[in-house]
Symmetry: C2
Subunit: 556 residues, 2 copies
C-alpha cells in the first residue's frame, strides 16, 4: 500500500463525512446524492435577509478547499463535485435555494469550463426563480502569459475571505461582486511541483519537476530542474512578480500553499526563501505556509501575491470561524534579546578558600580517576563505546584545572559540590557528565539548605534517577551509588559505604539485561561477567574517599 | 532534487527564522548561537509575577512543534535543539532566566534521555539560583507495552495546552504540575508509517510499513502490512485502546497527527476511519487531522486518545494565540437537510397550450437534428471526440418526448425557450448541453422581461460567452450564432440571419487555432478545412427556421 485510502470511489464522501461531523455544518441528505454543505446556523430568512450568502465549490481533491472554509466571515456553503470534476447544475441550484435570502447570493467560481457552466446555468435558473444571484470568476494563475482563460487556483481563497468578510458587514451584493472582481485583477498565483499527484488507487505518474501547474494534475507549462528550495522559489517568484508588474509602495500579502505532500519542514524552508527573496519589508503579511488549495498529494507549492491595501488587510485579518483558514501573519524582523548565559550563581571563585585536607582528597580523587582510565575504557569496550574512562578523566582534568586556579572552594562542602557540578556540566560531556553534574548540583543545593552530607547525596542521586530515568539493577552507576549512599544515610562509616559500593558494582557483572544507559542496546552475552564501568568508577571513588579519610585520621 | 531544502545544516535555522518573522515572538540574538523563542509580550516581572511560565522544546524536525505552539494560552517559550537532538543545558537555563518570574516556571519535556538530562540539569541550576522550576515528563507512547521509559510523542501537545491554559488562569505551579502529571497518566498515543523520514540531504531509507513509531525515525516496534486506511487505523486503535483500558462513560478526545507527508485527503480518509471505528458517539472531540508533532517527511500518522473530562475540555477548547494549535472540533452526526431539487419555476406543464405552426417548426427542427447526426459526428471525429451529432440528437429526442407529452408551451416564446433550457440541462449532457441550456434559459428570462426575440437571443448568447468563456473566432458554435443574432438585431430577416450563420460556420474551416471548447487541445493540422460541428449545427438550425418561416408564409 502506497497511500492511506480505502476504496478510491469513497474518498470524496469519506472526507466530506469528516467535514460534516467536525464542522458546524448541515449537509444534504445522503439519499439525495448531492454533496452540499451549509453553515448550520445560516437561515436565509434571518441572516440572509441582510447578508449576502457566499457559495463556492467545484471538484474535490483540493482539501481543505472548499468545505474547510465554511464559517461565519467566510463561505456560507459549498457544493462539491467528484475528484477534479465540477458538480452538476442540480446541486448548485439546490444550494442557492438553501442559502439565498433577500440580500442575494454570490457564487465564487474557479475558472474551469465545467465549473463556469454548471454554476452559470444554476445561476441563470435561480434568477429565473427570482433569486438575486451574481458570480465572480477567479482566474489568478499567471502560468500562461497569453492565456485567454487563466485557471483559478489558490488565490480563490482570498476571494472567499474578502467576500465572506464583506457579506458579514452587510455589504450589498453588487458592491461585493465589484470588490471581488477588483481583487481578482490585482492578484496572481503560480505553482511548481517536484512530483505530480497520484489519483487514489493509481500509481503516481513519473514526470520531471514542472513550473506553472494547475490544481488538477495537468502538466505544467514547462519542465524545470531546481537545485534547491531557493532555486525553486526563484523560478516561481520571477514570473509571478513580472506578471503582477512593478511593485507599488504597498507591501505584498503573500500566500504560500502546500500543494499536497510537502513536509512542514520543506514549507518552512520555502517560506524563509520567499521572505528573503522578496525582502521582509516588501512582504507585509504572510498567509500559511499550509495546505490550502491542494492537488491530492502533489509534491509542490504555489505562491499567491497581492498588494496588501488596508481595505484588503481589514478583510483578510478579520476573525472567521472557518476551520481551515490559517490566519494572516504580520511579517517583521523578529526582535531579539541577549540570552543570559552568565554562570549566574557562580560557585567558581577567583581566590577560593582552601582546606588543605579536603583539597588533598580531591587531588587524590583526580589522580585515581586519571589512573583508572584504561581499566574503565576496557570495561566499557565490552558494553558501550569504550570511552567511559576517557570521559571520567576529562571530568578529573577539569577539577584539576580549577584546583590549580584556586577556583574551587574546599572549606565547605556546599560550594565544593556546586562548583564540581558546574565544572562537570561545562567540561565533562556525554550523558554521564550531565548526570554527575545533576548529582553534585542538587546535593550542593541540599547542603546549602542545611542538609547533612548523606541526606544531600541522597537528594542528588534522587534527581539523577528522576532526570536519567534509570533504576537500581539497570546496570548503571546507580548500582554502586545507591547502596553506598544508603549505607551513609543509615549512619555507617565511609569504609562501610565503600564496601557497599564495591559489592553493588561487582554485582553488575551478573546483570545481563540493561534497561537504561549505555548497555541498553547490547546483547546479553556481551554483558555477562563484565562490571559496569560507571559503577566501577563510583566504587573506586568511595574506596579512595575511605582511604583518604583513614590516612587523615591516622595523621591526626 | 527530491525535496525542497537548501543546505541541510541550515534547515532548522531557516524554519525558526520564519517562526520568528511571522510569530509575535522575540528570539535569542543570532550571535548567541542559542535557539530560544519567547512570547514577545511576556515580561517575567509583569505576567510572570502571577502566571507560571511554560517552556518546552527539544530536538527540531517536529514542526510545527514546538515554536508553533507559543502564544497566550499555550507555551511561553521554546528551546530548540538541532534535528532530532536535544538542546544543551545552556540555552534551557537562559530561557528559564528569561521567562521565570515569581510564579515560577514549568518545563514540559518529552521522555528522551537527552531532553531529560539537559532540561533537568538546567532546572537544578535554576533552582540553585533561587528560581521556582518544576518539570513534567511526557511519556505517552504505548508502542512498547513493557517499556520502562515510554517515549513522549504527540500527546505532549495536550500537555502544552492544558498547562498553558492553567497558567493563564493563574493556577499555582504545583497544581499545574499535578494536573499535567494526571493528564499524562490518562492519555496514550501510537504511530504508524508507510515510509520513514529522510534527513535533509539524504535519501529516504527503504523500510516496510511499521507500527509503533517514535518521532525520530527510529525503527517501529513491528513491521505491518496494512491493506487499506481502515486496516492501518485498526492496527493503531486496537493496541491503543487496549493500553488505555476499558473506555469509561467519558467520550474520548482524539488527536489525529500527520507525521509528515500524508496528503490532506489521506488524513481525511483516516479521520473518517477513526470516527467510524471508535464510533462517532464515543469520540466527543477531534483535534486535527493536521501536522502537529511531525517526524520530518515521514509518511504516517499517530493517534492520541484521552478521556474528555469537562475540566480537560475547558482547557483544550479555550482560545489561544498559538498559531499552530488546530482547535478542537466537536464531533457529532452532522444534521441533514433535504435539498430542494424541484424544477422550481417549472416551464414544463401537464397540458401545455399549443400553437400548431410553432409546434410544427419545433418538430421540423427535431427531425433536422436527428438527420444531421452522422454528418456532425463525422466533423467532430476530426477535431473532438466524435459525439457532437449524438449529443445534438439526444437534445432533439428530449424535445420530441416533451412535445409528445404536451409539456412544452408553443403559444409564447418565453415559456418555450425556458422549457427548452430546462430540457437540455436535464437530458442533453456535455458542455454543449449546458451552454445551450444557458442560452435558452437566459433568453427565456429576457423575453419574460419584455425583450423582443432578437434582443433576448443576444442576452442568451452573452451569458453563453460569460459562462463558457469562448469568443468569436475560437472555433465554437458562437462563430455561427453571433453573426446570425447580430443580423436579427439589425432588423434583417431570418433568411439573412441564416446566411450569416452559414458564412460564419463555413469560415471555421479556415480557423486552425482553437482557444476554447473541444478543439482547444487538437493540433492545427487536424483542424484545417474542417467546419466546427457546433457552428455547423447552428447554421442548419437557422436554415431550418428560415425554411419553416418561408413555407408558413407561403401557406398563409
Amino acid at each position: 500500500m502506497e497511500r492511506f485510502y480505502n476504496a478510491p470511489d469513497r474518498v470524496v464522501d469519506d472526507i466530506l463525512q469528516v467535514a460534516g461531523a467536525t464542522g458546524e455544518l448541515r449537509v444534504a441528505t445522503p439519499e439525495s446524492g448531492l454533496r452540499i454543505l451549509i453553515r448550520d446556523d445560516w437561515d436565509r430568512t434571518r441572516q440572509g435577509r441582510d447578508q449576502v450568502a457566499v457559495l463556492s465549490g467545484g471538484g474535490a481533491g483540493h482539501e481543505p478547499a472548499h468545505a474547510g472554509f465554511i464559517g461565519q466571515g467566510m463561505l456560507t456553503g459549498v457544493i462539491s463535485g467528484s475528484l477534479f470534476a465540477s458538480p452538476s447544475v442540480e446541486p448548485v441550484l439546490a444550494a442557492i435555494r438553501e442559502v439565498c435570502g433577500a440580500a442575494g447570493c454570490l457564487l465564487v467560481v474557479k475558472n474551469y469550463t465545467g465549473d463556469r457552466l454548471n454554476f452559470g446555468l444554476a445561476a441563470e435558473r435561480a434568477r429565473a426563480e427570482g433569486l438575486n444571484v451574481e458570480m465572480v470568476i477567479v482566474a489568478d494563475d499567471v502560468a500562461i502569459a497569453e492565456a485567454p482563460q487563466p485557471r483559478g487556483i489558490a488565490g480563490t481563497l482570498l476571494v472567499h475571505k474578502l467576500t465572506g468578510y464583506l457579506a458579514a458587514q452587510g455589504t450589498p451584493l453588487g458592491e461585493i461582486q465589484h470588490q471581488a472582481n477588483a481583487l481578482c485583477e490585482r492578484m496572481g498565483s503560480l505553482g511548481m511541483a517536484l512530483k505530480p499527484a497520484a489519483h487514489p488507487g493509481q500509481p503516481a505518474a513519473s514526470r520531471s519537476p514542472e513550473l506553472g501547474l494547475g490544481i488538477h494534475n495537468e502538466t505544467g507549462t514547462r519542465e524545470v530542474a531546481p537545485e534547491s528550495a531557493d532555486d525553486a522559489m526563484r523560478l516561481v517568484l520571477e514570473p509571478l512578480c513580472e506578471a503582477l508588474g512593478e511593485s507599488t509602495d504597498t507591501a505584498w500579502v503573500a500566500m504560500l500553499n502546500n500543494l499536497g505532500s510537502c513536509s512542514t519542514q520543506e514549507m518552512g524552508v520555502l517560506a524563509e526563501s520567499l521572505l528573503r527573496q522578496l525582502g521582509v519589508t516588501n512582504v507585509g503579511h504572510l498567509i500559511g505556509p499550509a495546505p490550502l488549495m491542494t492537488s491530492l498529494d502533489m509534491h509542490g507549492f504555489s505562491v499567491t501575491l497581492v498588494p496588501g491595501t488596508s481595505e484588503l488587510l481589514d478583510a483578510l485579518t478579520a476573525p472567521t470561524q472557518a476551520p481551515a483558514w490559517p490566519g494572516v501573519h504580520r511579517v517583521r524582523q523578529a526582535p531579539t534579546f541577549t540570552p543570559n548565559t552568565a554562570q549566574g550563581h557562580d560557585a567558581l571563585l577567583d581566590d577560593a578558600p582552601q582546606d588543605a585536607e579536603t583539597t588533598a582528597t580531591v587531588w587524590r580523587m583526580i589522580e585515581m580517576l586519571r589512573g583508572a582510565r584504561e581499566a574503565l575504557d576496557a570495561l566499557d569496550a565490552s558494553s558501550g563505546d569504550g570511552d567511559a574512562g576517557a570521559s571520567m578523566q576529562s571530568g578529573a582534568d577539569s577539577l584539576a584545572r580549577a584546583l590549580d586556579a584556586r577556583q574551587l572552594t574546599t572549606t565547605e562542602l556546599a560550594p565544593l559540590f556546586t562548583g564540581i557540578g558546574q565544572l562537570l556540566a561545562r567540561d565533562m560531556g556525554g550523558s554521564s557528565g550531565v548526570l554527575l553534574s545533576i548529582l553534585f548540583t542538587a546535593a550542593g543545593g541540599a547542603l546549602d539548605r542545611g542538609d547533612g552530607p548523606a541526606e544531600a547525596l541522597a537528594t542528588g542521586v534522587g534527581k539523577m534517577q528522576e532526570y536519567g530515568g534509570a533504576r537500581a539493577g539497570d546496570r548503571t552507576m546507580l548500582d554502586a551509588l545507591l547502596p553506598a549512599i544508603t549505607a551513609l544515610e543509615e549512619g555507617n562509616s565511609l569504609v562501610e559505604a565503600a564496601q557497599a559500593a564495591r559489592t553493588g558494582a561487582d554485582a553488575t557483572a551478573s546483570l545481563t539485561t540493561a534497561n537504561a544507559g549505555r548497555s541498553a542496546y547490547v546483547p546479553e552475552s556481551a554483558l555477562k561477567g563484565i562490571v559496569d564501568p560507571g559503577a566501577e568508577a563510583v566504587a573506586r571513588v568511595f574506596e579512595t574517599l575511605a582511604q583518604a579519610k583513614a590516612s587523615s585520621s591516622r595523621y591526626r
